[in-house]
Subunit: 395 residues, 2 copies
């Protein structure tokens, strides 16, 4: 039994100390060192459609797990389903591979701006807790089909209605237990929703910071549901009862504060709303009156909705110009070449060049999505105690 | 051949005069008599989850077509597909029947408020160019499958990418030709999108004003795509080139006016954004300071998104209360009983009782959808020359 014990030691391990953290780029903007939370310099975001994996924002709740030997890893698929599975990495890689270009955004993106209105709890983030990558992996819907759950199922014979993802990321919010989250079964079994069990990021092996050896990618949904370092998938009758599903990542109105909050009164956030930000020039850059400035940024909507329009004002909202939406990256290798009808999971980068400004100048961006949803003008109207989903006009 | 000529006369007929209009309720609020455009008294909307078919808003572009003998009707399914069809009403009724509770909303709903900021073109509508019905019919995806187009197709072997619906509603905007519109093929062939060829409304035979004998219902999408009195379905390489797809029902920013419009620069509107309105008390009702008022209304979002929250202010936005969202009607007969994971195609009615008001009092409602999208505070920010999709805070 000694060898079995040794084999177990080699599996994916959650850690309790920060002594084995991966090396990271010195260019990241670090918001918290332990756990490591860092965002991308905004100008890096707008300079490339796909965000470099080393520069991609990193949102963690504990030390980065470690997998000394990939051959010892098994993904467990269990719970209220006909056919429980234990799947090796090699087996997962033998399934049809899909590459999905998807933007992930932390629900706390732009929290710092919200905190300026009234203090909110949570890691401070600028406008770069967001990034876009080409994720490669198996479709969750295919894996669940192997486990006996048909595509487009909203309930299993065993009464399962939710798909819970359990990582081995040990965090204080779960009292030292694992980070977890769930999505509805119909979302997970819908092949068109493109939920991936990803082992690749931008054509490379997923690195430790982003979930090596395997992570979930739920396109169009707040980053918190795209669980990294996944160890088990559990089909359950109830949605995940963990901290991050039940006591965080919900949207409350401004009148709710810590003394009158009722967590059960709200549903867990899934799709994020229409969003945009200016990446260049950075806040505080000095320009002279009459200068011609080039503006760059991103716009994105959750739920597969695309961006219809990006508006820019340099006179505090009195007049608006339309930004030029840059062509999106096409990933053709997986048969998604004509993607105009498919859900749009990834951001639109935009630019507006040679804009004459008068100082003092406040540049504002706002976007419209394909469902004609717009961003709210005033952050105060959407202020919430956890500081999530700040999608007010970005200045 | 005389009998064949006579049979043709009996088919669904577009008319050029208004001499054969159906009888209508005297309670409708008529915005235009010829063509007949009328909305529901707002208090009728909030008094019943399903809107009575006689009171449901009526949006027409010409005289109401007539079908003297239902046995002579055939729906033609043709174009870029393997297997063209001509289908009788009896055959369509023999296909699996689905009942979908869906809200239809005219893109011009609440146009009159937008016109107060700056004049827009189009029929004036209050906040009741909207209604909810239980639509019964065959799924378009099933009919297209019979025509040789698989579920979830985004292109046919014959290069078809769009599904055009041609009515026999003759209108001046088409120079006396038929009203028509299209949706993308993937939307039409997605059984989960619940696009219906409906022959029933609220359990009764569809009446002439609402499209007898057959209409399209595209849930979650502006009413203009739910073509009534449908005669032909054409699979095409291009989207519909008709007036209402190309030169109307598009969203422009406030800076675009009739002298600088470029219709080709925008896509046709599909999903509508998050919306809400106060139905009772009606505008102008006199209340005294200190009175307790009961408030009623609706909230709805397009694209299958549900309503997460409804906020009410009686002090012009300084403070907000949450309205009580009323239970939604469940239609269980078609296996849709657990609909919490399914797309939400129908409105949420809300109430807030015993609200103490100080006069003069402006009541405001705004809603949040399940993707955390919010309504814009200021109608001026979304003003557009055609006056479509006014979803600003309703006062
Ligand atoms: Mo997050
Ligand atoms: Mo309409």
């Amino acid at each position: 039994m000694a060898s079995s014990g040794a084999a177990k030691e080699l599996q994916l391990q959650g850690l309790r100390t920060y002594e084995q953290e991966p090396r990271r780029s010195a260019s990241l903007i670090v918001n918290s060192q332990e756990p490591f939370n860092a965002e991308t310099p905004a100008s890096v975001l707008s300079s490339s459609y796909l965000t470099d994996e080393d520069m991609f924002y990193k949102r963690n709740h504990g030390p980065i797990p470690i997998l000394p030997d990939p051959s010892t890893y098994n993904l467990i698929v269990t719970g209220a389903l006909p056919n429980p599975l234990s799947l090796s990495l090699d087996f997962l890689k033998s399934l049809p591979k899909y590459t999905v270009v998807a933007t992930l955004q932390c629900a706390g993106n732009r929290r710092t701006e919200m905190s300026k209105v009234r203090k909110v709890r949570g890691v401070g983030w600028g406008a770069a807790a967001i990034g876009t990558a080409a994720w490669g992996g198996a479709k969750l819907s295919d894996v669940l089909k192997l486990a006996g759950v048909d595509h487009f199922s909203n309930v299993t014979a065993e009464k399962g209605r939710h798909v819970e993802f359990v990582s081995c990321d040990l965090c204080k919010e779960e009292n030292g237990g694992a980070y977890k989250a769930s999505i509805p079964l119909l979302h997970a079994t819908n092949p068109e929703a493109d939920v991936l069990l990803a082992y690749e990021m931008n054509g490379k092996v997923l690195n430790r910071d982003h979930g090596y050896p395997l992570r979930v990618v739920v396109p169009g949904v707040i980053g918190a549901r795209s669980v990294k370092w996944i160890e088990r998938i559990i089909i359950s009758e109830r949605e995940c009862q963990g901290f991050f599903q039940q006591k965080d990542y919900k949207m409350f109105p401004p009148r709710v504060d810590w003394d009158n909050i009722d967590w059960q009164s709200r549903r867990p956030l899934m799709d994020f709303p229409v969003q945009s930000a200016i990446c260049e020039p950075q806040d505080g850059v000095v320009v002279k009156s009459g200068d011609a400035v080039d503006l760059y940024g991103y716009a994105v909507a959750g739920g597969g909705r695309g961006i219809e329009r990006v508006d820019i004002s340099v006179d505090n909202g009195k007049s608006w110009m339309e930004a030029h939406r840059l062509p999106k990256l096409q990933v053709g290798s997986d048969g998604y070449e004509d993607d105009s009808q498919r859900p749009d999971w990834a951001w639109t980068l935009w630019e507006l060049k040679n804009v004459n400004v008068e100082t003092p100048c406040t540049v504002i961006v706002k976007a419209v999505d394909t469902a004609a949803n717009v961003q709210p003008a005033d952050v105060g109207d959407i202020w919430n105690l956890r500081g999530v989903l700040n999608n007010s006009w970005h200045k």
